[in-house]
Each structure stands twice: as C-alpha cells, then as structure tokens.
C-alpha cells in the first residue's frame, strides 16, 4: 500500500468541488459549518478531515434535533422510496448519487431480506475503498455516503430510543404501547376493509422490488395508496427488529438519513422531506404496533411471513393462528435440536480436544472444594466481630497465655522413687499392709484438721524458738546446715548489680581460698627457716615422694596384671634388672663393645683395628680346634692301650 499521489490530488480536488457545491446549494434550513469552502492547498489530510468534520458535526446536530422533533410528531406518514427517487432524478450528478444511494438503500434493505453480514461486508468494502483513496467517482460519492452513514447512525440511535414509550408492564416480550396501537389498527380494519385490499396490492410490488437487489425506479405512492404494511410491521418482525438491534435501526436510519441528506443537497421541496420523515416514522411506528410474542423468528422468517402475507392477502391470520404457528415452529426447532448432536456441555466427560478453546472460561463450572473456603469479610461479619470483642472487654475475659509451670517433684516422692532397700525389711508383711491401711485412712483425717490450728501451731513454734534464743540456758541452737554454694572467683563487681552503689575491685574469694596458707604463717626463705621448719619441710617432701612411689607401684602392678608385655617394656629399671638376672643365669651374655670407645681418626687406625679383630677371631677358632684335637688324641691313646 502506498499513496498514489496523482490519485490523491484528484481526490482532494473532487472533495473540494463537492464541498463547495454543497455550500453553494446549501439551504437556509440546514445549518452547516462555518467554512464556506474547503481549503486544500498545502493542507494535510488531517486538516482536510477536520474541516469536513466541522461541517458534518453542525449538520448532524441539526438533523438530530429535527428528527427528534419530527419523531414526536405523529401526523407525519411515510412515503415510499420510489416517490423520493422520482424527485431525485433531476440533476446528473444527483442521478449518480441516486444510483449509489439506491445501491446503498438496497444494501440497507438487504439487511432485512438477507444476511446482515453480507451487507456489512459490502459496507466495509466501501470503507476500505475509501481508505485506499481510489479516484473512482462512485467511490468518491460512496465515501461521502459512508461518512454520512456513520455520522447519522449515532443520531438515529438516539431518536429511535426516544420513540418507545415505556410503561410499568413492559418486558422483553410485551410492550403496552404496541398493544394499544395494534388494537387501534384492528378497530380501523373492521371499519374500512376495502382500503385494506388496496393496500395489500400495492405492497406486493413493493416487496418484489425489495427482494431484488437492482436499483429500480419505484412507482410513486400517494397518501391514499398507503397500505397496511406502511403502517405496521408484520407481527413476527417486531421484536426481532427492536430487540436485535439498533443495527437494523441504524441502517434504516442511515438509509433514511441518506435519503434525507441527498434530498436536501438536491434542494428539494420540503414536503418531500416531511413525507420522508413521515414514511420513516411510520415505519418505525409500525414496528411498535404488533404484539411481541416470545420466540420470534429470525429475519428470514420475517421475510417468509412477508412473502406469505404478500401471497395471501385475503387471509388475515388471527392471533390464535399466529400463536399456533409459532408453537409449531418452536416444536420443530426443539425437535431439530434433539436430533442434532448435543453441545459439548451435555456430553459428559469432555477433554480439552473435544471442546472449543477457552470454552471453560465462559462456563461456570461447579466443583467440590476440599478445603473450607476462607470466610468472606463483609461489613456484617466485622460488626459481629466487633460486638464479640466489646463484650469480651466488658467481661474481662481475656485469652491470655497461661504460663506453663514445671511440675516440681516433692523430695519425698523423689526419695520414694529412688531408694531401694537392700536389707531385709524389719516389718513383717502384715505390719506393712497395716501401715498402708492406716495411711489411707489417716489421710482423710488429716484433711479434716483445721487449717487455723495449723497456723496457730506454726506461729507458736516460731515464737518459742525466739524466746529460747533470748534465754540461752537450755537453748541448743539448731546445727548449722552446711550450705553448699558454688562461688566462682570472679571479681565481685561482675556478680553484683549492674549499677552498683559502691564500686568494688575485690574478688569474691579470699586469698587463702585461692592458695593454701602456710601453717606457720609467712613464707620463709631457706635462710630464714628454723631447723624445725627445715625438718618439717623435709618430712613433707618425703611424704609426698612416698605417696608418689606407692601410686606408681600400684599402677605398675595393675599394668603387669592386665598386660604383662607392656608392663615390663615401659620401665627402664625393670629391664635392667631383668637383664642382670638373665646374664647371671647364663641365658644371655652381655656383649661388650670396648674397642669402639675410641674415636677412629685415621684410616690407618681403622684398618689396624680391623686387623686386630680378625686376628682375635682366628685365635679363638684355633683354640677351639686345639681343644677338639686334644680330646680326640686322648681317646685314641686310651684305645691303644
């Protein structure tokens, strides 16, 4: 897509021409925009658009007002399209416009007769063509039409909405105003039957023309030739058209608006306008007249009905018949539904593949919640809570944490648990059981004792104790219980309070407690010591040594018992003693290394020593040999003799 510059300039020029023409022909009635001509030289697209917008907005406002006014006016009646068309066939350009208008109209009518989508497509095509800026004149014109369409759509929306009078009884299927109008018409019918026939005849041609998509010149209709259809919509139509939407209305409105617009631009007689308006309005009004029955058929049915009506003008179907028709249709549709394939919602277990994408999002799915849902906090719940809180505060019923108490075991119980008497019990079995029995029964009596008596007893005891202390003749104080307190040798300051009154550097333990004091008192040097002191020291030393020796022996004995090898290995003395023993017995011989005492300084010394050693060895060996020889000779000698 690219801007075709040549075409664009042509297009702009044409737009300007059209605008100027419009302004030139502009009637006094329609109040347009302030600009008298469209300026395009050196102007951006946006700017040109805005100029057009100015004009169009003003025109739109005027139309809105006029339509609103005319809509309220009930005397107006609608003319057929043909009349207007006839009047339009004056100027050539108008004719072109007309043609396109016809096309547009036809498009609009098509919406009634055929699918809306098609027409919309065509409409959208038009718009697309505009966007692409074809230099086609038709498209040019269409462009304007489309723009006008869009503009007028909104206006007509509002007007149509104002048309319907709402009452309390109204709902989707029933409108009171429609009923009233229908009744009025019915009365009219009864009075003037002949005219009805005429009306119907005319309508046939109308319908036929509507069905065809070609743009034809329609026969002119005078006010006398107005038919039933001009006044009233067929019954089935009504709701559909009204309910389904503003779209239809829009298109219709647009359609009529286009007609109006064009007429004005052609500078036509006002009457035509009015007629058009009437026509338009009666059409709209006609919608309201018929009964709105439930389950209205679609537009196609509407056309069918129209056709049927067109074909059999003599038959006026009663409301019962109509209802019957509707019922049969309903039954038919239901039957079709049943025969058809069920929608996926009713098919039981449906996997993701079997249903359309994201279809579950549109469904409200019910499933069981395994977890309890969180409570919804509403105003009421908060009020309730607050009430509870207030009541609690008044009652002073707090939910305080109860401090856990460690169960303290009584010493008695503890003792009872622990002590196991390994001796023969001094009491016989009978006595034991007796005691138990007494205990059981005594407990009861103890409880009966008066607590006041107990108090008195205690007070008396304490008093007597104090009195005894004062007169200390026969007073024996209680033996002091040796209190065991673990004192660590920290400086006193650390054990006391954080902010002590008097700061003290002293440690908790006395110096004597740290190091034992000498019995004599001071520590003396050797020179100061008296002989008794010296002797004392010696005795102490000996004692200590003795104890040490004893300990050692004990350990050694134990070791020997347990691990005999290890015991002997460890002590050097024991090893020496053993060696001595062995050598004495003759089981081992000590090797003396006398020669190796000297330090060998020279190689000569070394070799001489070596020589000596060898010599010694030989000597010994010879000695042995000699000894053996000697023994041998003796024997031989003896034998000889």
């Amino acid at each position: 897509l690219s801007v075709q510059d040549g075409l664009a300039t042509d297009f702009r020029a044409l737009t300007k021409i059209l605008y100027d023409l419009n302004k030139a022909l502009g009637s006094n009635i329609v109040r347009g925009g302030p600009l008298k001509e469209l300026v395009i030289e050196n102007f951006d697209e946006e700017q040109i658009w805005q100029q057009l917008e100015l004009q169009n907005n003003a025109v739109l406002d005027f139309f809105k007002k006029s339509i609103a006014r005319d809509a309220k006016d009930e005397d107006l009646c609608l003319l057929s399209d043909q009349e207007e068309d006839g009047s339009d066939a004056e100027t050539s350009s108008d004719q072109e416009l007309e043609d396109s208008i016809m096309e547009a109209e036809a498009e609009q009518k098509n919406i009634y007769t055929q699918d809306k989508t098609k027409a919309k497509e065509k409409q959208s095509k038009f718009r697309e063509s505009i966007m692409q800026k074809y230099s086609d004149e038709d498209s040019d014109i269409d462009f304007d039409i489309e723009a006008l369409e869009q503009q007028t759509k909104t206006t007509k929306e509002t007007t149509l909405k104002k048309m319907g009078k709402k009452s309390i009884v109204d709902d989707k299927f029933f409108k009171l105003s429609e009923m009233e109008t229908f009744l009025e018409h019915a009365e009219k019918e009864n009075r003037e039957e002949e005219e009805d026939i005429n009306y119907f005849e005319d309508i046939i041609s109308d319908d036929e023309e509507e069905e065809s998509e070609e743009a034809k010149v329609k026969p002119v209709k005078s006010s006398r030739d107005l038919t039933y259809k001009d006044f009233f919509d067929p019954v089935d139509d009504n709701d559909d058209l009204v309910a389904n939407g503003v779209e239809d209305d829009q298109e219709e409105e647009a359609d009529s608006a286009i007609e109006e617009q064009n007429e004005e631009s052609m500078s036509e007689v006002e009457d035509m306008n009015e007629m058009m308006m009437e026509n338009m309005r009666s059409k709209e009004a006609s919608k309201k007249v018929t009964f709105s029955l439930p389950d209205d058929s679609e537009t196609e049915d509407v056309t069918d009905v129209q056709l049927e009506k067109g074909i059999d003008p003599s038959e006026i179907k009663s409301s019962f018949e109509k209802r019957q028709e509707k019922m049969s249709k309903k039954i038919k549709s239901l039957e079709e539904e049943l025969l058809e394939e069920k929608p996926w919602q009713l098919k039981g277990e449906v996997t993701g593949q079997k249903r359309p994408e994201n279809s579950l999002l549109e469904e409200t799915v019910l499933f069981d919640h395994a977890v309890r849902m969180a409570p919804v906090i509403t105003e009421e719940t908060t009020f309730q809570l607050e009430d509870i809180i207030k009541q609690r505060i008044l009652d002073e019923a707090w939910d305080d944490v109860v401090p856990k108490e460690k169960p303290k075991e009584e010493a008695f119980e503890y003792k009872k648990r622990i002590t196991l008497d390994h001796e023969k019990s001094k009491l016989s079995l009978a006595e034991i059981y007796e005691q138990e029995y007494m205990k059981l029964h005594q407990q009861k009596t103890e409880e009966e004792e008066n607590p006041e008596h107990k108090e008195i007893q205690e007070m008396m005891d304490s008093l007597f104790l104090k009195l005894d202390a004062l007169c200390n003749f026969h007073f024996t104080p209680k033996p002091p219980v040796p209190e065991v307190k673990i004192v660590s040798n920290l400086p006193a300051i650390s054990m006391e309070e954080v902010a002590p009154v008097a700061v003290s550097d002293a440690a908790l333990l006395a110096p004597e407690e740290i190091k034992e004091k000498n019995k004599a008192g001071d520590v003396k040097t050797d020179a100061e010591k008296t002989p008794t002191d010296k002797k004392r020291d010696r005795r102490k030393k000996k004692l200590r040594k003795r104890m040490k020796q004893r300990e050692k022996e004990k350990r050694q004995k134990l070791l020997e018992k347990m691990k005999p090898e290890q015991g002997t290995k460890l002590s050097k003395k024991a090893a020496a003693a053993k060696l001595k023993r062995l050598t004495k017995e003759g089981k081992a011989s000590l090797l003396k290394d006398e020669g190796k005492d000297k330090v060998l300084k020279s190689s000569q010394a070394f070799f001489s020593q070596l020589q000596d050693q060898v010599k010694m060895q030989i000597k010994d060996a010879n000695k042995l040999k000699k000894k053996q020889k000697q023994q041998k000779t003796l024997s031989v000698h003896k034998l000889k003799l």
Binding site: L420, K424, S425, S428, L429, E431
Partner: protein, 183 residues
C-alpha cells in the same frame, strides 16, 4: 456349723524344729481370732485344724490352713499372719525350671542371681513389691496381694532368664512407682 470340718497340713522334717519353736505364735491367733481347733499330730506329722462350735466364720478354716501352710513353706510367722488379717493375700509357688529349663551350674547360678549377695536382691524385690519370697532351692514361693505377686514374679523370672539385677531393680522400681501413683 453342723459338721466339724478339718484340714491337714503336712510338715516336712526340716520344718519340724521351727514349728516347735513358733508353736505358740502359730496357734494363738488361730484359736483366739479364728476360733478354731488346732493340733499337731505327731504320728502323721500333720498339723490338723478343725472347726468347732465357737467358729463363726467358715472361711476361717481355709485361712488358718493357708496360714499354717505358709509357715511350713518357710515364711515367717508374722508374715504368714498377714494371711489371716487380710483377705486378698495369696500364695504362689513355682519352680525355676518352669521358667527356663536349666541344669546343673546354670540352675545354681540362676538361684544365686535371684538371691543376690547376702540375699540383697531378694530383699530388694520384697521391699519394692511388698511381698515375701521364699527361695527353697529350685522352688520359689511368693506371698502377697495379687498385683504384687505379679510384679515379684516378673522380676524373678527376669532374673532367671539372665537379666542383671540392676536392670531388674530399675524395672520393678518403675512398675512399683506407677502402681503407687495410681493409688
């Protein structure tokens, strides 16, 4: 009491002398408290107990018989006396070999385990469970209330089976404390 009922309790030879020594202590409560007639038949070597007209309670006869029987088994008189005074005391006997088939040294060791050094273990069990135990070679007699007999029996069985005494002490202590807590 229409007819005079009689019970006989045989006396083994080893219990003959103790019976003689404690005879006073035996027959006094039987005669005075239970209003029964008691005698020791020298020929049959039985202690015979008989009801008489003064007897008010028929169950007294069984009580007296049990009392004498307990003494004969080896219990002290004072301990056996509890049988008369309390209704719910029982006497249970079983053998070491019932628990586990032991022979020779093993059997002796088991008995030794039950007794402990100087009877220590036995006394401990007695004290904790409030029962009286008589250990006659391979036979064990327990005197006490039903629950206590059970406790003592469990302890003795554990000892026979081979548990060390310390462990048995722990167990019986725990059980006894729990039993005591309940009451």
């Amino acid at each position: 009491v229409a007819k005079g009922e009689m019970r006989k309790v045989a006396v083994p030879a080893n219990r003959y002398t103790p019976l003689k020594e404690n005879w006073m202590k035996i027959f006094t409560p039987v005669v005075e408290h239970l209003q029964l007639q008691i005698r020791f038949n020298l020929k049959t070597r039985n202690v015979e107990i008989k009801t008489c007209q003064e007897t008010k309670d028929l169950s007294a006869l069984t009580k007296a018989a049990d009392f004498v029987k307990a003494f004969i088994l080896g219990f002290q008189v004072e301990d056996a006396l509890a049988l008369i005074r309390l209704d719910d005391l029982f006497l249970e006997s079983f053998e070491v070999t019932d628990v586990k088939p032991l022979k020779g040294d093993h059997l002796s060791r088991a008995i030794g385990r039950i007794a402990g050094k100087g009877g220590k273990t036995k006394f401990t069990i007695e004290n904790v469970t409030r029962t009286r135990i008589v250990l006659a070679d391979a036979k064990i007699h327990i005197l006490g209330s039903f629950q206590n007999i059970k406790m003592a029996r469990t302890a003795i069985c554990n000892l026979i089976l081979g548990n060390p005494p310390s462990k048995v002490y722990g167990n019986i202590r725990a059980v006894a404390s729990r039993a005591a807590e309940r009451f």
